[in-house]
Every structure is written in C-alpha cells, then in structure tokens.
C-alpha cells in the first residue's frame, strides 16, 4: 500500500464516497424506486442524482479554488445546497 502514497485526508475522501455508494446500494435494495423526470427532462434514480451531485461538486470545488481561492471548506456549503437542489428537483 505504500506505493499508493496514502494520506489521511484522501483516505477520508474515498471512505466517504465508499460509504455513500454502500448506503445508496442498500437504499436501492430496501426501498426500490421508479425513475422520475425532473428539471433536466431526463429520467433519474437516486443513484443518478448521487452521480450528478458528486460530479457537480467536483466542479464547484474547482471553481471555488479558481475564482475565490481561499477558505476552501466553504465550497462544501455550496456543494450541500447544490446536492439538496439536485435531490429535490432533478
């Protein structure tokens, strides 16, 4: 594992993503759902919305770093608002 050059923050980062994936898999098995059509006019399931949230969050973080440049943790607040919006309307 040494060659992978792990650090605590990246380990936490991947741990959180792994937990999210497991949680959503369990949710999908316990509470099956039918896809719905939201503002993007495409059918999405919870998993799709998680993907859109994660991908969008990556771009939000990069944009924050590029345009604001300081206080990176605050970008997570924007991500949380974005996530809520995606799960509510997409």
């Amino acid at each position: 594992m040494e060659w992978m050059a792990w650090t605590l923050p990246t380990a936490i980062f991947f741990g959180v993503i792994a937990c999210l994936l497991v949680t959503f898999t369990v949710l999908a098995i316990k509470f099956p759902e039918t896809p719905r059509v939201g503002v993007l006019r495409i059918e999405t399931t919870r998993g799709d919305r998680l993907f859109i949230t994660l991908l969008g969050s990556a771009f939000i973080n990069l944009a924050w770093l590029g345009f604001v440049g300081t206080n990176q943790p605050y970008a997570m607040i924007v991500c949380a608002i974005y996530a809520a919006a995606v799960f509510r309307w997409v």
Partner: protein
C-alpha cells in the same frame, strides 16, 4: 402472480469489478493521492494540499493545451461525422461492391496509431514524402515541422484518414437496418432526396451516430501517439494536446503532483462530456422504444 426477484446474478459481475478495480480504480486513487503531495523521488511524499490544483488552474500552459484539444476535437468531429454519413449514403447496399467497400473501409482502422503517425510523417516530408514533395513541386509552401497551419492540417487530415471509416461503417449499419417499407412509403409520397434523408435516414441513424460521436470524441480528446510521432507537439507547442502535455509533465519533468492534479481535471472534463453523451443516447433509445 408475483415475480420473484433474484439479485444473485450480480455476483457474476464480480470478476469485471475486480478487473476494473485493478486497472482503473486503484491507479485513479493513487493519482488522487499524488495530486495533494509533492515528491522528490524515492517514494517519499510531502503534503502539499491543494497547491497543485491552484497552480494548474492558473497555468496558461494547461488552458492553452485544453483550448487546442477542444479545437482539435471539434474540427475532426465537424469533418468526420458529415463525411462519414456522406460516404455511408453513397456505399453500395448489397452485392460484391458492398463487401469490397466494407473491407477497404476497415483497412485504416486496423493500422496501429504509431504506424499511422509514421506513414504520415514520411508522406508529408518535403524531401522523400509523396505528399510533401508533390506540394513543394507545384509551389505550395508546406512544411509541417516549421509551419503551424501545415502541422495542424497534417494532424487533422491524418485523423480524418484514420477514423472517418469508423463513422461511415456505423452509419452504414444504421442505414442497413431501415426496412424497405419506409423508402416505398416515401416514394409514394414523392418525397425529395433531402426529405428522405431528413425524416427517414437521419432519425434512424441517430442512435449509432451518437455512439460514433461519443467514440470519436473520446478518442480525439485523448489522442497522443499520432501527433506525437508526426509533429512531436510542435512547431513550438502548436500541436501539444492535453495528453502530450501531461506526459511531458509527468514523465519528462517528473512533476508528479501537478501532473496528477492536471489529469484529475482532464478526467473530470471527460467524465462530464461522456455522461452528457450517454444520457442523450439512453434518452434517444427510450424515445424510440416508445
């Protein structure tokens, strides 16, 4: 009667999962780890935080490479897709000539990237290459090692030569799947050639064309070997596309941290565009299904 649902079949996917983890997920995780650290070799790493991402976001070099890459992909798509459709529409539908066309069209697809690069590298040379020599003799100034326009034209024509047949073959497959009844109905309505194309052929080809666009986009967006062999990214940096720049940074300069940050951003852009294509494709299929 209720259908019993058995999810055990998912276990059959496990080997693929292991393979993908080994070949993609674990290397990607390592890249993420590299992107937040600095190294001087010897497998020793020092925490750098988001410094490399910040550097890359304000790096003119990366934005220039991205702009060149986007321009290259846009140009080759704008040429290869219409040209591929045009070729497919004019290919014989059946018989000996259809088979011959298919074989001839597949030939460029079988040639490895570096060989394609070498072919064009020699073909374009003014001293011994057929194309370069002929252009020089008729008085056209053409030198892809010194002139930016010539270098761009060479890499674009090379890509068109290599990959248009893929689009043509896919479009041809789409055309072959249209039942004759559609054409007969169009004939009864005295539809023009354009109307037949616009309302019958194009909609029926939409699915395969999306696949063709996705494949060509992905391939052109990560193109490395052909321009590297022909121009080496030059003259200057004129044909240094994203992957060429990335390899220079990661292996040439051994700047693992910045290169890792660069490749994560590269990956995110590809992921976003592929997701858009994929979503459009799936929705097209669903609309057709309805």
């Amino acid at each position: 009667m209720d259908k019993t649902v058995n999810q055990k079949a998912w276990f059959l996917v496990l080997p693929v999962l292991v393979l993908v983890a080994f070949s993609a997920v674990i290397p990607l995780m390592t890249v993420v780890n590299y992107s937040v650290q600095d190294t001087f070799g010897n497998n020793q790493f020092f925490w750098a935080g988001l410094e490399w991402f910040d550097d890359m976001l304000s790096s003119e070099r990366m934005w220039d490479a991205l702009a060149r890459q986007a321009a290259f992909s846009a140009i080759i798509l704008a040429i290869e897709i219409p040209l591929g459709i045009f070729v497919a529409l004019n290919m014989p539908k059946r018989g000996f000539w259809a088979s011959l066309c298919l074989v001839l069209m597949s030939l460029p697809l079988l040639i490895p990237w570096n060989v394609v690069g070498t072919i064009w590298q020699i073909f374009g040379r003014v001293d011994i290459g057929l194309l370069g020599y002929a252009l020089d003799k008729i008085g056209v100034s053409y030198n892809y090692t010194q002139d930016i326009t010539a270098a761009w034209i060479t890499v674009i024509v090379m890509d068109v030569w290599h990959w248009t047949s893929l689009v043509a073959l896919l479009a041809y497959a789409g055309l072959q799947s249209i039942p004759d009844a559609y054409y007969q109905a169009a004939k009864i309505d005295q539809a023009s050639r354009w109307a037949v194309f616009r309302y019958i052929e194009l909609p029926k080809m939409a699915g395969v064309l999306m696949i063709a666009i996705l494949l060509r986009f992905m391939d052109s967006f990560m193109i490395y070997t052909e321009p590297f062999v022909v121009t080496g990214g030059g003259p200057g940096n004129a044909t240094t596309f994203l992957s060429i720049d990335l390899v220079k940074m990661a292996l040439g300069q051994f700047d693992l941290g910045p290169a890792a940050a660069f490749s994560i951003m590269y990956f995110l852009v590809i992921l976003l565009i592929s997701w858009v294509f994929y979503t459009v494709m799936v929705n097209l299929d669903k609309r057709e299904g309805n």
